[in-house]
Symmetry: C2
Subunit: 441 residues, 2 copies
Amino acid sequence: MRPPRAPRAYLVCVGSELLAGQLNTHQAWLSLRLRRRGFDVAGESSVPDSAAAIKTALRRALDAADAVIVCGGLGPTFDDVTREAAAAALGRKLRFAPKLWRAIRARLARRLAAVPEENRRQAEVLAGAEVLANAAGSAPGQRLEFRWRDGRPRSLILLPGPYSEMAPIFERVLPRLAARHARGAGAGLVLRLAGVPESVADERLDAVRARFPAASFTILASGGEVSFHAAVRARTAAAARGELKRLRRRALDAVGQWCFGEGDATLESALGLRLRESRLTLAVAESCTGGLLGGRLTSVPGSSAWFYGGVIAYDNALKTKLLGVSSRLLRAYGAVSAQCAEAMAAGARRAAGTDIGVSITGVAGPDGGTKDKPVGLVHIAVSGPGTALLSRRHDLRGSRETVRSRAASAALTLLQEALDGPSLTGTRLTVPSRFHRIGAT
Amino acid sequence: MRPPRAPRAYLVCVGSELLAGQLNTHQAWLSLRLRRRGFDVAGESSVPDSAAAIKTALRRALDAADAVIVCGGLGPTFDDVTREAAAAALGRKLRFAPKLWRAIRARLARRLAAVPEENRRQAEVLAGAEVLANAAGSAPGQRLEFRWRDGRPRSLILLPGPYSEMAPIFERVLPRLAARHARGAGAGLVLRLAGVPESVADERLDAVRARFPAASFTILASGGEVSFHAAVRARTAAAARGELKRLRRRALDAVGQWCFGEGDATLESALGLRLRESRLTLAVAESCTGGLLGGRLTSVPGSSAWFYGGVIAYDNALKTKLLGVSSRLLRAYGAVSAQCAEAMAAGARRAAGTDIGVSITGVAGPDGGTKDKPVGLVHIAVSGPGTALLSRRHDLRGSRETVRSRAASAALTLLQEALDGPSLTGTRLTVPSRFHRIGAT
């Protein structure tokens, strides 16, 4: 029996800045979450801060999909016109909500001496809509359930533009949105891979796709990581779960060796979990990444249990002074060398008094490359108890920011490998000794 | 005399992956370049690899704009259907171009043993279109100049999806596109502000908007920074420049005190410029940001001229060991205190041997907050030569990542202030002494 078609969602991203060079990150973030909940994302429109443009986009989106998600244009300023445009598109009134205004005013009064009268507009709500509380800002979201001109049910969700406000509201409302438009049942998974090129993962997964022709698949590559997304549909939730379980097993047979986590797992959160379980502590020594690796590690809530800190040794003098890398070594091999990376990793471990030290040194560019040490050359090392040492050379491509971000990812991957035992990653070991399952010292 | 309206462009991004979690980076890249050439970007649509969806999006885009730029869907596989969809949208034939096919085949034969018959489709060209050679891949672009159903001229540009193929073709075709649709002249500016809430900046800029009713404006807030975008149009380039100059002066009268740079300037690049000019060097001591500040500073190419590095002192033991913060101070005031921030900043300066040290210590959350020291409490300090010291308390709101990113921005703002002299930022000074224009030691 064929499962019913997936419910459709459409995204409308509001903001002239999206048409003036600002990166639209909401589209990817929202699409991923909608897909996981069984929605087919039928399209996305970015529109300027113009009531007429928003109104047209909304009506077209409502013609095309069951659920329309709008982000942006709920602020207090003259160019925030999503509320008015939505009212015009639906032929509904906006109602001023005095209770909501009191809450917004109280919130703003904590930060501002005088609450601008402009913010009053944020208390205007589409007639019949539910207010979606915003814990992180003054613009509340709105959710309206109604019948569109074809007589069929629609959901319209208005979300504030800033990510930190949009994301928690959307995560809260999504389960209800999915329940409302459920037709049959969907189930999805995401496998997170590192240390493997996209094309290799893709080839390995061919067999999985062939075996599950009714499922939908996406492979995405970004910043040295690859993610594999799969979604299945069935008449019942139990059937969807069963199908997904079989698919997951096949997929792990194909690419499990590179899989560091599932769902929203990041390289750093997966690593943190491993360190916490093993009761191991970590310190960093960063040169070309200048703190990016530490920044990513400390993005994990509770990272203080296993991350102590470290040294940003951008200048060579700091490599010597704070990490104990000898001037002789720097003269003989240079700062971008396996030898320096290894000494930095050991130095981080020693300086911070941790079980493990990890280091990054490289040429991020755009200048500073030579024939022997071109832009993109990065050495990474992991130092463990005793003489345990794992180090690797990478030849990365791309802009300064790409090289730096991939270098940080590569360091996290090498740490995983040090904890996991051997794996094939297609890169070269510069030092044959490696350590696995380091015991807590 | 009223200037003519700006020519309009519309973007259509083709690819199911854009609706499944893949970041759409073409939209920002193309928008920026079109705006700089005087186009108003009227909108963007992301559509799946479906001929019907692409056709509908193309017709709507052609109704809305003078020039429509389409990327993606020009590959050889079954799901590359942009050529067919464009032909259907315009009611034009696709013509097989034997000469183009020979060129594509010769190119592929260099890499592949057998050239797939599938690639023939890449030699199909919209009747009347010019072929845009692709030096980096097999899919050529296409450019068609024609009259749309309203009888007015349109340009349709088809570009391949991969950035490395799309970008050079677009850079080559853009000057001709701009020349074809030129009407009058445009000029624009971006002012970058920090240390001011969006609503306050917005209120101050009201007068500017009132005085330049024909100009277009956007205000954008992100991570503790605010940017103000303005664009003017006039009959001639000289008139547009003159108008923009007057607008800029008014805007700086309104918000100049918070303006750290213009155009593509970031807080870190503007600061780097100031440090380089003043021949001053900088080191960091980061607790709750764990390296984010160092990561941002080193994102600036050439930052090694003024940034030496520093210490990530996430754990208190490292604050003592590497930064010399006394255990007594930590016991008396705690790690999240003005006293600790000041000792950390001085310690960073001393450890790295730089002119200036900057520190961040705070409660990023989600856990670890107390009544006295809630989540979002952040202390920042700048230490200069001698006893020069500037320190500030911030009560930040939002998620862990928002608090951390705003804390890093606040540290950059405090550094600017230390270099600039006094400014009103609406935040509290915990220490009355401050230093301006630090001389190089």
